[in-house]
Structures are given as structure tokens and as C-alpha cells.
Symmetry: D2
Subunit: 341 residues, 4 copies
């Protein structure tokens, strides 16, 4: 329920408006030298309120590790991270105690648990993903030591979209843009669109693309635990994700086999495919090409426009315009996708 | 690896060209009266070679159950199904023993296991899904006894697409068409397109839509085991699936929050949303609306056109046109999607 | 429920009086050359009716493998075994349909499933362990290729007991005795005692000892998945096991630390302990010494003496003396313990 | 590795000499009113240094809960507990950095992880069980609300043993004795023996008995997840446990079926067994009688007597008498057994 993974298992806890959020990472190899700054850098990338385009809520994203690491090396024991929540403002939510906000988890959560922690999103808040980023940044360090690199970037905000093929971008290329789209011109357009949406109290959806470089052929399983099935399980765990496609994805379903079959050829780096419509995965198993996939994020549900809905008794409620909202979760989601991939 | 599920666990075994394929279904409630014909009907729906539009290979799809059922009732013990493979023709594959067929799992599978069962697709073959259909048809019977109904249909073949909103269709509506698209006119067009592709030795991709009706609100989990994350794990287990979207999906990522937020209203059937962009799932938990999702299938990799590729030694190989292929796996995938949902 | 293991997973199915029992073994390494005769030999060792000391019921213990093996090598795919039940005699049990036999699972099983397959022990029958022996004999072959050897033998029948320290015995030493006690003199006494008990329609309990040789230091986990905790989970899965102790066990609990602490010494084979009260496991992790443990089996519940009990309605029933029973399950359990260890 | 349970999952973290130990409890029902004092009382029972018979090390056993509980009720979210370690005295262990202490996990742990946190027992320390007691005391509260009660008591210290049948004792009866043996006279003898052993720098083993009252018939599974197999997995997770027996246990293996078969009878409370050699479990499933089992604890490995051993280089080392040790872990283990049962 709150754990993911088989050999490397992440167990998450904490609510957005409780004192702390945290996670336990179990199964990490022993004797690995950790760069603690690396973890913090990823958390800083995730942090909201970094620019005019994202939410203004301040979150304290200083991560603490109090087990599983000794003298900067992993010990093989479970690694526990936590972050304090400094911006817990329960009062803000008091008036929403009995209201079902449109496209939030208020209603379904209440049906699930017979109960609602009205202080905020609780477990449904994107805040809990901060601990995933911490855990993921450990996994990323380990993978990088094996020359496996993960990159995620914003491909599309609303209808403004890159049309290049998926490819690996260096962190500097992604982070050079406030919206984390590596195309400078589109990045500027996206920024403006977000600013406009924000001014209008509205929010935007978008697409993040992730590319994994350096994974050798032969990773995955042919039946239920296909490599992409397990990535899908992880990716749909990220808040607001409503779609996922690998390689040629939905567009490929409009084509013919003769157009999109990936043929093999012998190269000086071994046997490779000439194209990569498969997104690096064939029959559920990596084939040594870049793994690539795209995630569709719905627009953030929290908007500052008037909305009609009902409360627990069924009484109609008009939600008034509010100041605080996050018009676009994309930039924050980029490090999460990297972490979860 | 070859099991899926938590409380109800399906363990699959068998290769396409071995003597048998089968599965063990564990955790099924005891005392449930099974309709064995229901299982066989679903297997018949899955069976290839039913029409000119699908592959001509004959498969014996008579399912046997030899444990977990006594006097037509489930006993609580694990239920074992199996089907004989009567059409195992290892000779057909002898010449492909060392060739990496384009977009097949030959290469990645060999890297994974250091070994290839060259008699056929082995575990990567769609043949193994027959046992999933058997297992799924048991689950479906149980769910129907709780008034939860699952329907899947072909929404799109190549570029021919329904543009209606997702909705529940009765089995007769789906099965009235050879391609299992409930729109008779489009169905005819799809049929013709498939016939044309087949004549040209080519294959087509498509999109299947699935709608689950009657699931009460409150099913799922808010963090890692979100209802759609678990469905995603299952759906990406189906061969040739390259994309998945829930509710508004990828299209919704181009919109604004004010356009696609699902508001709540009080109805005579309780609190419902006025729209269903969420696809029946909010915050990972069902909200009582129809669950809906779409799967993108790539075109079948096996085509009867000349293709270039390499063998294990890297030597270039030209695959010649062959008679046997399956231009479109969609109709067969429909019962699989129902089973896995 | 019906699966055990983490990386190597055994899923069991089948009832004692259904047509078949079987199992799926998932996660076995690919490319391993199997000796199929080895499997059959272990099944033959398990088979009842081998001598006057054990039950006369004939069981067909020819094992079939129909997946996961190709040209005598494992393929990495799940391995499915099955055995036919030729001695299913449902009539024998008809009269017991509503009776709760003393110390059988009839009552608890019925409470669990609301239902009883009165044809026999069903899933509770020791018959289902035949498939474990098959699976275990594959694992044993693999372990032996890594120089890890498992031996199990009868240490005690009723009060006749070996008092030697646990040690590794070769298969020939164990099998030289009909009761599988490697001490010839005690073996003879045990045999006579069993014959006497049988004549009196009674059954006997006993203790099996298991020694694992060649496991390197460092296997196991310090907290929940301690090596002996996982062995315990497996061992208590064997029917009729009521006790388990490692190394010094219960006797050690009467001693002082200064008497039973295992000190380390440097030897020409590396660092070893001078004694082995720990049974080869310290802090849940193997220390390179022999792993040793003992299992207490209760007397077989099926006896041929008159017994009083009740039926489903609470009516008192007198069970009459019957011809068929198994006075001592020990010899059959020996290969099961080897398989499960 | 560091998690246990299926529906209710405990994930443990922390080392004895790090800043904190803690655990996450996932799957606890929502809306349950917790008595936080109950948790603290159990931790106080576990705390060492309560009397002259147990170790003098002070541990801060104030438990903090920072998620999963809101307004004293569980929310359904994972519950995170932690305790600070105030008595971390790394200096004490500096000189043991390279020594393999007899019957400790130093050697096996180092082989497992290629690394040793020489500050203390690390994950192997009994200190980590404090968080299990916290978690267990939540589970106990829930079970008590369903009228299921768990009791554990010291049955035996060295050779001083109760010879009564296992039965349920009230908490006051157990806690009236410093050594937690409910027999006042034996309790006094045990206390004296422990004092004597302590004076001689030695330690003692013993046996704890656990009785679970009120569990209805029908809980458990007939094959691998037998109720006692799962209890065994949990019980062998407790430090220093070397043996476990249910009901008649090892003694029953010396008897005949006619002597120890549990017959059924109709009583005014329903169908019961006349005796309880089965320890409340038949065929892996509870039968509605008291569940009873006994755990053998080896003597604490830490003693204050001179001992010979070696260090990492194989050099012989004489461990000198030290002041601090715990002659008997029994009283502390009692609440752990209750928690884990």
C-alpha cells in the first residue's frame, strides 16, 4: 500500500500537514559512498516556489538521514529519510472540511477510509513525493556509478510542444529553463502561457518525457513483471499522471508494422536497432537502446477560479477564487519522474 | 516474475510451443458457483482464426480445471487451469533459430536468459494469455455477482477511430462486429482496412477501450498502489501494449483546470461528478463513476513483407515474405483486457 | 497462501483426491542442466508403501514436467511439475463426510472455507508435499553444483533417540535404514517399535534432524528475514511439525552463556567457531559452520483404534478401528525436510 | 528484509547506537481510537534497567508518533513511530572494533555486508525491538477490541521451570513478578538464580510461553501460510530465540496418536476439543481453542567473564571481564513476544 519495489523497497509515510514526511529505503547495497549534497540538490529542484511560474507555498526541503549510513557510506541497513513540514497551515483548510473539491481526492479518500484529515491533502498531497525524490536520488547515484543515467524534461505545456524525438539531455540543459524544457524558445512560450494562466486563476496540464541511457540489454521479465509494466506501476504513482506511453506509444498505434518495426543491425558497439519505436523495451525486456517514455499530467486541480461543487450533505457550494495555487506541476514533477524511473 | 496480484494471485506457466500452457489462480473465494461455459466462451472469443481478419493459426482452446473446484463450486484451494497446445510446429521456426526478428523479443530474451527456446515465442508469445483469459473469466463471474461489469472494445484501428465518449457496451454490441468495434459503420471500414493490410503482408495497430461499471467509491490506495497504478501494471503485461491513458488522458494534458475539473453534484443516486475526465479514479481511489481507460497496441511485429535484420553473429539477414501472420491483434486482445482489468 | 519463497517461488496446487497435484517453480536460473532421474529418485524416497513400517496406500509418484525445461536444460521460464493421483478412493471417505476426525484439519478447514471437500484431506493431505519434493530436488541439484549439501535423517522415534551431535550423513548412510535413521542398532529398535504400534492400530511421533553443509558465511538478514526465521516458515509448512529448534535449541536454554557461547578461532580453513551451539546462524546470518536444526513431528493423527468425537451437528460419533493408517510419517518426511530446507 | 506482515506490514529501521530507531506500520484500519498510554506502558515493560535482575543500561523509551494518527484516531495512513537513543556510547565499543565476540553477530554481519558499524550491535541489537513493541501494542489494542487477548510469561529460567499446562494469565499476574513468571515461588527462585549468575558475570537462558485467547476458528491457511508457520517467522525474528514449539511440541513427539489426538465434543460454547495438544491450530488453521507456544531463548551472549576469541586478522584475543551485561533477557522479551504474536 505504501511500499514500492521488490529488491529495493521504498516505504513512505507522513501527511502534507503533519509535522514530518519521510520514507524508509530498504535493500540498498552496503559500502556505497553517498554524496549527500546530490540528494539535497534534487530536493531543491523539486521545491515549489522557485519562480513565478510555480506555486508560492514554501516547503522546508532539508532532508535528514538518521539510519543506514555511517561515515558517509551505506551500511546495508534500511535508510530512513525525513523532512519537516514548516508550512503546515491547517487553518486554511478549516472551511473546506466538508467540501468535496472538484478533481481532488476528498470524496474518494473519505469513501476509502470513512474519514478525512481535513488539514490538507494528507497522503494525497504531492508533498509526500519529496521523500521519493530523496530515495530516488540515492538510487540515481548508484545507477550513475554503473553508467546508467536518467533524464526527465518537460516536453509539452498545454499545446506548446517540442516535436523532436526523445533524447538524453544533460541536467544543465534541462535546468537552464525555468520550466525545465530544454528548448529555449518553447521554454519562453511555456513560461508566458503559465503566467497568463496564473493571472486568470487557472492551471495547465502537460507532458514530461524521460530517457534512460546506459541500461544494458536483458533487464526485465517476459510476462507480468515486464520492465515497462513495473515502470508503469511507479509512474502512475505520481500525482496527476493520467497517461503513459513508451517509445512510439499512441502514435505508433496508427501505423503499420512495416513502418515501425525496429530492425537490428551490427554496429561497432554491438547489435543495435536502426530505429527505436520500441522505446528500448522488447517483450518486456530491455534491448540496450535508450528507454524512453512520456507521461501525461492533467492540469492541477487546485485553481483560483470560482467552481461549483457539493459538501458532504450534498449541499451545493461555490468555491471562491483564492490566491494560492499551482498553475503547473510540471517543473516539480521532473525530478520525481527521474527518481521513480 | 510470473505471478500477478495481491489477494487474488495468478501464476502463469507454459510456452507457446511446449505441450501445455496453464496457470494457478490463488485466493479465489470458496463456495462460489462457477459457470464453466462462461470460461470457455471467453476463450472462444480470444481464439485466433475466427475470421478472415485475424491469424489463421489454429489453437486448441479447450480449458481444463483440475483443482480448486468440486461439484462446480470453488473450494478456496488454488484453481489450476491448463490448455493443450495442438498447433506446436517447431519446424516453422528452425530457420529463425539464430535470427533476431525485428520488434520481436528474440534479442532481449536471449540477453536476459543467455538462451533461446527457438521453437517459437516461448514465454513471449501471446499464446500464454489464453490462461489469463481463463483466470479473468472467473474473476469476471465473481465481479458480476457483485454487479461490477467489465467491457472492452476496439476504439481504433490504425487511423479509423470512434470519437464517442467512452461508455459501457453490452457483450452483444461488441461481438456483433468481427473486429469488436461497437460502431457498425466504422467496424466495416476497419474490416476492409485489415483485409487490405493483410493482402499487402502488413499489420496494423489500434486502440482498445475498457469501461468498468458498478465499482463503488473507495477502492484503491492513495500512494503507491493507486487503483490505476495497479491496473497499469496489469495492462502493460499484455503483449504489444505501448500506451495507456485513463479518463481524459493525453488530450486532457492540453487543457486547463477550469475546463476539465470534475465537479460534484447531488443526484438521486448519491453524490456524483458532472463530468468524468478523471476516468472514475481520483487520488488513486475509485469515486463511483465508470472506470475508463484506453490501451495503445503497436502493429503486430510479425509481417509477411521482406525485412532486413541480423543474426546472432551480426550477419545481415533478409526475412522473406511468409504466408502466416496476424495483421491485427485487437479482436483477440479485447477479452484479455476484460480479463486483466 | 499457496506460494512460498522470494526469488525462487513455489506455487502449489491440487488435492489428494483430485486427479492431479502439481506446482510451479518460478525464478530458477536458466541454462542449468537437470538430472530428471534425481527428481524421480527423491520422489521414490518419499513414496509411502515402501516397507512394512509405513502406510500401504499406493501413490503414483511419476513426475511430469511440461514447461521451463528444453533439451534437459532450464530455460528461465517457470517450471511446472505434476503427478497423477491414481489412488483417489472417494468412497472410503463418504462416511466421514460430516465427522470431525480427532487432530485432523476437518473442523478448522470447514470453519475457514465454509465448506469441506469430504473426499479426503484435500489441501491438508501430506500428498501435496510430493510436488514440494520435486521442486526441492531441483533446488538441491542447483545447490550441490555450488557445493552446498542438505541431509535429513530420523533422530528419534517416540523415545528411541540418537544422542550423537548433529552431523552430515551421506545419502547411503541415511537410506541404508528402512526408517532412515543412520544408526543401525537404533534403526532396528525403531523398526520394531513401529511394527508393534501398527499392530496395535496406533501411531508414533518423532524427530528429524537436518544438516546443511557448505553454506558460506553471510547469508541471511539481521532483522525480520533472519535465515532461521525463513527456514522456520518453510519447516512449519510441513504437515505434523509441532516444534523446531536450531543448534543447541531448547536444551541450550537451560545453560549459561559461559557454557554455550561459540568462540572464534583461526583455522587453516579460515575463521571458525570452536563449538556450534548457534547451529551455524548468528544474528540471523550464516557463519559458515554447518546449519543444523531438529523438527518435532506429532504422531500421525490417523490411527486404527476406536476414538470418540462428534459430527457437524455435535452428535457423538465412535470412529471404529480401520485397516489403513500410517503409524509413522518420519521416513516419508525425510526427503520433504531436505527439499524444504 | 526489514519488513514483516502481509496486510498489516511493519517496516523497521534504526541502529542501537544511531540517533533514533523507528518503524512504519502500514495497513492499520482507519478510525480506530488509540490509547497512547497503552503503547508507552508496553514500552516501559520492555525497558531494561527496571530491576537488579536485568541490564543496567538506560534507554530512553519515549515513543513518538508523527503520522497516521489525527485527533487520537488512526487515519488509515501509515503510522510512523520513533524513539531517540540517548544512551549511545560509541566509545565503549571502540576497542571491540575488530574483534569477533563469541556468539554475537559481529562475524556473520561483517561477512554479509562487507562492513561493520562497530559502534554497537547495529541492526542486530535487541534495541531495535522497541519499535516492534510499539507497533505490537497498537495491534494488541485492536485485537482486544475484538476480544482477542495475548499473554506471555516466563515459564523457565535455566532449569527452574513451571510445570503447569499453558494457560492465559492476566497482565497483573505476569507483572507481579520482577522476572514475569506468574508463579510467585518459582519467581523468587529465578530472581535469586539470576542474581547469582550476574555476580559471577554469567548469563542464563530460558523459555517464554505465549497464550492467545479468543481467536475464532478458521484463521490461517492449509499449506504454506499455516498460522503457526507465520507465527514462527515472526517469533524467530526475536533476538536469541533458538527454539519454538506449539501445543504438545517436542514432548508430544515421544507419544502415541491414541494418547495425544485431540477429540471433539459438543459444549454449550460450541464444538471444542477435549484436550489441546494441537495448541489451537489444526492443519495450519485455528480451531477456536487457545493458541499456545513456547520459545527457547539462549543465554545472552554478552557476559562479564573472560572469553577467548579472535579478531579480523585471526589474532587470538582475550575478552576481559566487564561490568555491563544482561544476565537474562527474558523479562524484556515478554512484551516483545506479546507484540509479535
Amino acid at each position: 500500500m505504501n511500499s514500492i519495489g521488490n529488491r529495493l523497497i521504498l516505504t513512505s509515510y507522513g501527511e502534507s500537514h503533519g509535522p514530518t514526511i519521510g520514507a524508509v529505503l530498504d535493500g540498498f547495497p552496503s559500502g556505497f559512498e553517498l554524496d549527500m549534497d546530490y540528494i539535497q540538490r534534487q530536493l531543491d529542484r523539486r521545491k515549489p516556489g522557485q519562480s513565478k511560474v510555480s506555486t508560492q507555498r514554501k516547503e522546508s526541503d532539508v532532508v535528514f538521514v538518521d539510519s543506514g549510513v555511517f561515515q558517509a557510506k551505506t551500511t546495508g541497513a534500511p535508510i530512513h529519510f525525513y523532512l519537516h513540514n514548516q508550512d503546515a497551515r491547517p487553518d486554511d483548510y478549516q472551511e473546506l472540511k466538508e467540501v468535496y473539491r472538484p478533481s481532488h481526492a476528498d470524496f474518494s479518500y473519505e469513501k476509502r477510509y470513512g474519514y478525512r484529515d481535513h488539514r490538507g491533502g494528507g497522503r494525497s498531497s504531492a508533498r509526500v513525493t519529496a521523500a521519493w525524490v530523496a530515495a530516488g536520488s540515492l538510487a540515481q547515484q548508484y545507477l550513475e556509478s554503473k553508467n546508467i543515467k536518467i533524464c526527465a524534461y518537460v516536453r509539452k505545456i498545454a499545446t506548446i510542444s517540442m516535436d523532436d524525438d526523445a533524447r538524453f539531455y544533460r541536467l544543465e540543459e534541462v535546468d537552464s529553463s525555468i520550466v525545465r524544457c530544454p528548448n529555449p524558445e518553447l521554454s519562453k512560450q511555456m513560461e508566458n502561457l503559465i503566467a497568463e494562466a496564473k493571472e486568470n486563476g487557472d492551471s495547465l496540464g502537460g507532458v514530461i518525457e524521460c530517457v534512460i541511457q546506459g541500461l544494458k540489454a536483458g533487464v526485465g521479465n517476459p510476462v507480468f513483471d515486464k520492465l515497462h509494466a513495473k515502470l508503469a506501476h511507479a509512474m502512475f504513482s505520481i500525482n496527476a499522471v493520467k497517461g503513459l506511453e513508451f517509445g512510439g506509444g499512441f502514435a505508433m498505434s496508427e501505423r503499420r508494422g512495416s513502418e515501425v518495426n525496429d530492425s537490428f543491425e551490427a554496429t561497432d558497439k554491438g547489435i543495435k536497432t536502426t530505429t527505436n519505436y520500441s522505446g528500448g523495451i522488447q517483450g518486456g525486456i530491455s534491448n540496450g537502446m535508450d528507454i524512453s517514455f512520456r507521461l501525461a499530467f492533467k492540469p492541477t486541480a487546485t485553481i483560483a477560479k470560482e467552481q461549483r461543487t457539493v459538501d458532504q450533505s450534498g449541499k451545493e457550494i461555490v468555491l471562491q477564487a483564492k490566491g494560492r495555487h499551482d498553475p503547473c506541476v510540471m517543473p516539480r514533477a521532473v525530478p520525481i519522474v527521474e527518481s521513480m524511473a
